[in-house]
């Protein structure tokens, strides 16, 4: 009898398994995306600072100014503000709000909401708040410096004149998202200005609103019925957390998802001959670089740095294991940024590298430890460096750790060479210039961990002033020229070896159109997508 029972169970399992529905196509008005979204901690624009969070935010919150996804090169343009004026002394910007924008709650968007949202970001003082506080806004002065004079007018008073483009670019960052004041305050607890509630709920005037979020599992967005713009074709967007590239590829091939966002080079290659599927390449803002701690004597020798920069197999790496996912790039501003430098003065040249090393004060090279996190592509790059620098006679050791471990060591200035990635915080050249070429105080006690120059104990000298000058230059052509000059100099003398810029390869159904991941400047935009 027992054997019969077993057989019955097996039969039932097989029957149920085969009878279950298997989707071959997603509905025409629904976008299904596979992505790694385990970095989402909160949807609150005052706090959100992670990639997957920025993707959601861009589709939920409108900003005073914003980018057109179909024309990212055009730069910022009016959104909640229809126009702006800058005072003669360059310190006051007056925004006039556009008509007709409405939050998902049904409340109209007014200058008061903008005032509330920007003040709140300064007052809450979460990690991304520096994007606003760098203009001199503080908890003590926001009442005067961020002010709605009526429902249609918002006045920002800066501590000194900055390039207008710099200020407006910063307002397009996630932290510039305008929140519905009434809804946020209705959900306030312990004076948090709705922070707790906005972690898991959204209250914006953008095309979508979040209706369900299961951390590490999925985010579900529906249309904001009150959205001011044209009704998007995708009425519902589902982002599923799928860790494995191979799994994403299978789902895409089966038509269970519309877009796969984390495909490995192997899986991209595997999709080449699959019918009904395409891969769209897009240049993103993330740079891959190595940097040399200036506390290590040998690494302060300009000739040693030169030798190390020549002894990198740029094309070899981008043509093999990084295939299609990184392009060679050697300046601190990613391509598509204002003033990005395209020069690539370093190529893999062992003779030049050896000559430079011989001329240096350390002709035999010395032991070098590369601090690297345990991610596959970074390990591959580190191994390549170990090989080519080894050919210079350097004894190269890899110190592998988790992301948190290597970052800890980096911030404590305890590394020799750090192999890392850096993405822009906001779409203005100052974001990377202020990180790679600015270090206001190189002392250990200064603890300027936000500056990569400081983390490498490097004093950029005159570049400090040049960086600060570029950020207040209002003539855009002049400003571009200043950044180009700054990067040329940086390329030559800095202890940074920028190697690659990321290309994102998104796999998607052949009929999916207008999928823009955000380029180097912003995040993904779902509302323009059709399929």
């Amino acid at each position: 009898m027992k054997t019969n029972f077993t057989a019955a169970v097996v039969a039932a399992i097989v029957a149920l398994g085969t009878a279950a529905p298997v989707m071959a196509e997603t509905p025409p008005n629904m976008l299904v995306i596979a992505n790694r979204i385990d970095d989402i901690k909160t949807f609150d624009p005052a706090e959100s600072f992670e990639f997957a969070g920025a993707d959601v935010s861009r589709n939920v919150y409108e900003k005073l100014v914003n980018f057109d996804p179909l024309d990212l090169d055009a730069g910022y343009m009016p959104q909640l503000a229809e126009s702006w004026e800058i005072s003669e002394d360059g310190k006051t910007i007056t925004f006039t709000m556009a008509e007709g924008h409405v939050f998902s709650s049904g409340n109209p968007v007014t200058a008061k909401d903008a005032e509330f949202s920007l003040r709140r970001a300064v007052l809450l003082d979460k990690t991304p708040s520096f994007i606003l506080t760098q203009f001199g806004f503080t908890a003590d002065n926001v009442e005067e410096t961020i002010k709605a004079t009526d429902d249609k007018t918002l006045v920002l008073t800066l501590d000194k004149p900055y390039a207008l483009s710099f200020v407006l670019n910063c307002l397009t960052a996630t932290i510039g998202g305008i929140v519905d004041m009434e809804t946020a305050m209705a959900n306030e607890a312990d004076g948090d200005m709705g922070s707790e509630w906005l972690r898991t709920n959204t209250s914006g005037s953008g095309p979508y609103k979040v209706v369900d979020w299961k951390p590490n599992e999925s985010v579900l967005m529906d249309l904001n019925p009150n959205y001011h713009g044209e009704k998007p074709a995708m009425e519902r967007v589902i982002v599923q957390h799928i860790q494995e590239s191979a799994t994403q590829r299978l789902q895409l091939e089966r038509g269970d998802i519309d877009v796969a966002r984390n495909l490995s080079p192997e899986d991209v290659a595997g999709l080449a001959d699959v019918e009904g599927v395409k891969v769209v390449d897009e240049l993103r803002g993330r740079l891959m670089y190595w940097s040399a701690n200036q506390k290590v004597e040998m690494l302060t020798d300009p000739k040693v740095l030169d030798a190390l920069k020549y002894a990198v197999d740029y094309d070899g790496m981008s043509g093999s294991f990084l295939n299609g996912q990184y392009t060679v790039h050697q300046a601190f501003l990613p391509l598509t940024f204002l003033g990005a430098l395209e020069d690539k003065p370093y190529s893999f040249d062992m003779d030049a590298a050896k000559a430079a090393m011989a001329e240096s004060g350390f002709p035999d090279c010395g032991p070098i430890k590369i601090s690297v996190r345990d991610a596959q592509e970074r390990l591959d790059i580190a191994q390549s460096l170990q090989n080519t620098w080894g050919q210079l006679g350097c004894d190269v050791e890899l110190i592998v750790g988790t992301g948190a471990q290597t970052l800890d060591r980096y911030r404590a200035r305890e590394h020799d060479i750090y192999l890392g990635a850096w993405g822009p915080d906001y779409p203005d050249p100052n974001t990377n210039a202020g990180t790679f070429a600015l270090n206001p105080d190189n002392a250990d006690e200064a603890g300027n961990t936000g500056y990569l120059a400081w983390r490498n104990a490097w004093d950029p000298g005159a570049m400090n002033d040049e960086t600060l000058a570029a950020v207040v230059e209002n003539d855009t052509d002049k400003r571009r020229e200043m950044y180009l000059e700054l990067q040329r100099e940086h390329q030559k003398v800095s202890p940074f070896g920028v190697m690659f810029q990321q290309i994102e390869q998104n796999g998607m159904g052949a009929s999916v159109e207008n999928f823009v991941a955000g380029g180097a400047t912003t995040a993904v935009s779902y509302w323009v997508i059709t399929k």
């Binding site: 398994g17 298997v22 989707m23 898991t200 599992e217 089966r254 992301g403 948190a404």
Partner: protein, 340 residues
């Protein structure tokens, strides 16, 4: 000193052991989390934060207090049902665990059931027909189950049954069309959808769970059948079996009525162990099948240095281990009166 009846002493003893075990577990995990060369503050605020934000968070997390005081505060919170907030998901750890644990429980239970239903008969038959093809097959199946990496089998399973044949649904717990239809009761989708009478959701959930559960079931089957086989061989070689046969009892009676009866107790322990292993050890399966369970939760938390989540998950897993042990102990007593 007041005298307690024996059952009360026994119960008190068990409770004290459970409490001490869990406290010890917490202490060790807590200390490992604190002495690891990773900064818990950075895990919260990320790499771009300023020194002032760093300092504020440092105080907020209570890291300025002595370690033992921090631990005391933590235990006190736990006793009040507060496991703290996850820095990775931004939500209460209790909320997170209530969401992820049923997913694992459902997967592991189905996996163990499959393992038992297939593994026990296979082990018994293999022992009875020792050296026959079925015995060889059982051992071969067991060998594969032991030597193949689970992520590889998982990916192959997905490729064949989902990618090529399309017999089962892909990764995740539920198809996109069925999400949010069934209001959670237990958090286990098969049970909830059955209770609510949503049979299409049930079928979809089943279609999602059957592949990962079969994979886990296969692994526990390999283990259970191997153990069953060796237990049975031992019994079949003993004198009382020979005596029973000599007395003219039918083979079925000898095998199931005598020999199998005697290995039930050992089997209970084996199955309990297999079950506990699936509950905490199915991390890779959970990752490959995008199964949002507790194994995946604890692992990713650990990598992100999200110690509240790790500690919370550890308490749950620890409690389950202790619970399963007590349960198998009780079953032991039930089956074998001598153990009383």
């Amino acid at each position: 000193m007041p005298s307690f009846p024996p059952w009360a002493k026994k119960t008190l003893g068990t409770v004290a052991t459970v409490a001490a075990t869990i406290l010890g577990l917490l202490f060790v995990t807590f200390m490992i989390g604190r002495v690891m060369p990773i900064d818990p503050v950075l895990a919260v605020i990320g790499e771009r934060a300023t020194q002032a934000q760093y300092n504020a968070t440092y105080l907020e997390l209570g890291l300025d207090k002595p370690l033992l005081v921090q631990f005391g505060i933590y235990v006190n919170d736990v006793l009040h049902g507060d496991l703290g907030r996850s820095i990775r998901t931004g939500q209460e750890v209790t909320t997170d665990i209530a969401r992820v644990f049923p997913a694992t429980l459902e997967l592991a239970t189905l996996g163990t059931l499959l393992g038992v239903v297939l593994g026990v008969p296979l082990g018994v038959i293999a022992a009875v027909k020792r050296g026959s093809w079925i015995d060889q097959l059982a051992r071969f199946v067991g060998l594969i189950g032991y030597s193949m990496p689970i992520f590889w089998l998982g990916l192959v399973g997905l490729l064949v049954f989902y990618g090529i044949l399309g017999w089962v649904a892909g990764p995740g717990r539920l198809g996109i069309f069925y999400q949010g239809i069934v209001e959670p009761i237990t958090g286990m989708l098969l049970i909830d959808s059955a209770l609510r009478g949503e049979w299409t959701v049930f079928k979809d959930a089943f279609s999602h769970i059957i592949l990962p559960a079969s994979l886990l079931g296969y692994y526990s089957m390999a283990y259970i059948s191997r153990m069953t086989r060796s237990f049975m061989l031992e019994q079949l070689n003993s004198e009382y079996v020979t005596t029973a046969r000599v007395k003219g009892l039918s083979e079925r009676k000898v095998i199931w009525g005598h020999a199998f009866r005697n290995i039930r107790i050992q089997l209970v322990t084996v199955i309990a162990l297999a079950y506990a292993n699936l509950l905490e050890g199915s991390v890779l399966t959970e990752i490959i099948f995008a199964w949002p369970g507790i194994g995946q939760y604890i692992t990713t938390s650990l990598l992100a240095n999200d110690m509240n989540s790790v500690l919370g998950g550890t308490i749950v897993i620890g409690t389950i281990f202790v619970g399963i042990n007590i349960f198998s102990d009780l079953l032991y007593r039930f089956f074998d009166p001598r153990a009383k």
